[in-house]
């Protein structure tokens, strides 16, 4: 699949690398040059396309190949940027598969009901933290839910 990822922070970079390992053709968009230099999060052996550009800008999206993309994922820190870019990807470019990161659970719900596939890390992470808190004490901290005396 041809996949465009908007945002090359920790999450976007990790995702881009994982998708490339799976054999997808990945283009990563970020507004800042620094996202792609040695300080950035992309590993050195990432071979996909790195592009400086704004994922909400029609011209930049076109340059990133939005007209022929199979999937678009917006993964910046800004919820509003993410949902605006996701809607442009869907309604202007007609990209078939769209996933968007929405930190605010309420906004995630609204945009989910508007037909976007939203992922809200806030609720997921809060649940993981709660689980970890409630898990029984052990000598070694569990990396995943360890079975107690059962």
């Amino acid at each position: 699949m041809k996949i465009i990822i908007m945002g090359c922070g920790r999450r976007g970079a990790q995702l881009a690398y994982m998708l490339q390992q799976d054999g997808h053709e990945v283009t990563v968009l970020d507004r800042s040059e620094e996202a792609f230099d040695t300080e950035g999060y992309l590993p050195d052996d990432f071979t996909g396309t790195k592009m400086i550009g704004n994922g909400m800008d029609l011209d930049d999206l076109r340059r990133a190949g939005a007209e022929h993309a199979d999937a678009f994922i917006s993964a910046t820190r800004g919820d509003n940027r993410n949902v605006m870019a996701a809607q442009i990807a869907r309604h202007v470019f007609g990209i078939p598969r769209i996933v968007t990161l929405v930190h605010d659970p309420m906004r995630a719900e609204i945009y989910h009901s508007l037909g976007l596939r939203t992922v809200s890390p806030t609720r997921v992470v809060a649940e993981l933290l709660k689980e970890a808190l409630e898990a029984p004490e052990e000598d070694d901290p569990p990396s995943s839910a360890a079975a107690p005396e059962d």
Binding site: N80, D104, R107
Partner: protein
Amino acid sequence: MYIIVVGGGKVGYYLAKELVESEHEALIIELDPARCAEITEDLGDIVMRGDGCEASTLERAGAGRADIVMAVTGDDEDNLVVCQVAKHKFDVPRTIARINNPKNEAVFTTLGIDTTVSATGAIMAQIEQELPTHPLISLLTLKGGGLEMVEVKIPASAAIVGKPIKEMLLPHQSLISLIVDSAGQPRVPTADTVLHEGDEVVAVTMKESEEALRAALTEPPPERSL
């Protein structure tokens, strides 16, 4: 009417001021506490501190009974989300978004925002009227039939300068309706009216004949090889 204005910058401030003066009920939602204090000092208690993109903030602001929500911050993505949350979560009948990047105008319309206002777009339209590279200005679209009223200024280099209108090859369904000369005198043209440099020609034309009309009025005579 109850109108919620999201964004307390210059635009939001003057908008709310005007609305209150026209006896509407207005509320500004602004994130920055210092700005909130400034507005309160000037306009009284019509400010709420908060993030207008959050459903909970809009709820506190009484978005459920608002007639209009206007999003006028300096960020298009924030304005889009404010309007969409207002519309889909609170059923606000009318949403208005300020657009900073004029390219977003069409996008916002596609995404269901009722009205968009673009200062950049409005200023560009003004400039384009003055630019010599845009000799044909669209004045208005006439109802039905795809007819348009346009204005063209005759440049010195035009082949038609010094010649009567009847010598010009006008495109189909184009009609020269009015000529304003460089002194500002309006004339109703006849076939014998001679065109001069600097004349403003007002014409009615079909949208698809626009380019041909522009060419007839502005293009220099074809170069002749000796």
